[in-house]
């Protein structure tokens, strides 16, 4: 019995001595179809990190390669699906997105880099998904798309893709964006769930370390909707909810105030990174 105890203590000491495994983000550059993509840059004023890194830098070489030539990027299927939806007439007004917005390559350029924006009507931040629904209900006489359904992810991916390469930058001076940013910051640092984890627990404090076999990134959102090798196209609020579920907490509803505040704050944390939609991640 005593020998067993000693053996156990020795083992514990060995594992404790090994320490947490840590790895820097890779030193690699990304061009997508020849478009230079900023994957690391100086952080904005007041940011906890000196440099912001795209999640791309934390992935295996084969995963990183999947973004370089868009024909290899499985997320582009969603972008093409979104393109089809862009021209699809829906609702009582007999319009499609294209009816008002014409060629998305022109009209949607910059959208992906500057949303979420302040929406004076709802007095809340509005993201691309909610803007799509606003257009549908107010301009098209169509029903709002339910969360992650009806092509919402595909349309969002298509719209954001029109800003590929552009640096993310939010205008926090609009309306009450600043207080929603504060609220989002609160959400980011608040521990939740049985596992008592905050976003910051993994993406700030443990950034660069490994959670089981995943290399923890800064949790940036410049590439959403993203194509996950594990499960295909994933929207931002889907990912928020999944992460929160994994802390064993109750999941906030998609587009709820908490998650809209979080999206605002987290998007700001990636200021300067290029829109990478649709990114390829694990």
């Amino acid at each position: 019995m005593k020998r067993l105890l000693i053996a156990g203590v020795v083992l514990a000491a060995v594992f404790a001595g090994a320490g947490p495994v840590m790895a820097d983000p890779v030193d690699d550059t990304l061009e997508i179809d020849g478009i230079p993509i900023t994957t690391r840059t100086a952080s904005p004023e007041g940011h906890p990190f000196d440099e912001v890194y795209s999640g791309w830098l934390f992935r295996e070489p084969e995963t990183r390669d999947a973004e370089r030539d868009s024909i290899e990027n499985p997320g582009m299927i969603a972008v093409e699906d979104g393109e089809v939806l862009w021209s699809k007439v829906e609702g009582t007004a007999g319009k499609s997105c294209a009816s008002c917005h014409g060629d998305a390559a022109e009209s949607m350029k910059g959208i992906g880099a500057h949303f979420p924006k302040w929406d004076a009507d709802s007095k809340k931040p509005i993201n691309v998904e909610l803007q799509i629904n606003k257009c549908r209900t107010e301009q098209m006489g169509a029903e709002a798309l339910p969360f992650n359904k009806g092509g919402q992810q595909e349309l969002t991916a298509y719209i954001k893709y029109q800003s590929l390469g552009m640096p993310v930058e939010l205008d926090l001076t609009q309306g009450d964006m600043q207080s929603w940013w504060e609220k989002g910051k609160d959400v980011y640092y608040t521990r939740t769930g049985q596992l008592n984890l905050a976003c910051a627990s993994c993406h700030e404090t443990a950034m660069g370390k490994f959670i089981r076999a995943d290399h923890l990134s800064q949790g940036q959102v410049n590439g959403f909707p993203t194509y996950r090798l594990k499960s295909g196209l994933t929207s931002l609020h889907q990912r928020f909810r999944g992460c929160i579920r994994d802390t064993r907490a109750e999941q906030p509803k998609a587009f709820s105030d908490d998650l809209m505040a979080l999206e605002t704050y987290v998007t700001w944390r990636g200021t300067g990174l290029s829109v990478e939609t649709p990114s390829v991640r694990q």
Partner: protein, 107 residues
């Protein structure tokens, strides 16, 4: 939602040049290994064959098993003798056939 298959074929080549072709098609590739919420097996439905021909001649073919990932991706080579058209076909377990074409010019 099935968009058209994505293919990348160079627009031109010199006679006899070996080019690289890349293809990507949207498909769940339901392996038959998964079970639904009630524990019932979800039936297999995959693309089981991919073929590339050039002016009717076989260039490359793949017999796919369920271990091929969702949204099957292929990269392979082709020797281009003359100007012509590549034809790509994907066969679904359910009998559907998906097709795409790409012309190439030999300078």
């Amino acid at each position: 939602m099935a968009s058209k298959p994505r293919i990348k074929v160079p627009k031109s080549a010199s006679a006899g040049e070996v080019i690289t072709i890349k293809t990507l098609i949207s498909h769940e590739m339901e392996s038959g290994q998964r079970k639904d919420k009630d524990g019932n097996p979800i039936p297999r439905q995959i693309i089981n064959k991919f073929t590339c021909t050039f002016e009717g001649q076989l260039v490359f073919e793949c017999d796919l098993d369920p271990a091929i990932s969702a949204n099957p991706y292929f990269e392979f080579n082709a020797k281009v003798p003359t100007s012509g058209t590549f034809v790509f076909t994907w066969l679904d377990d359910d009998g559907s056939v998906y097709e795409a074409e790409a012309p190439i010019e030999v300078k």
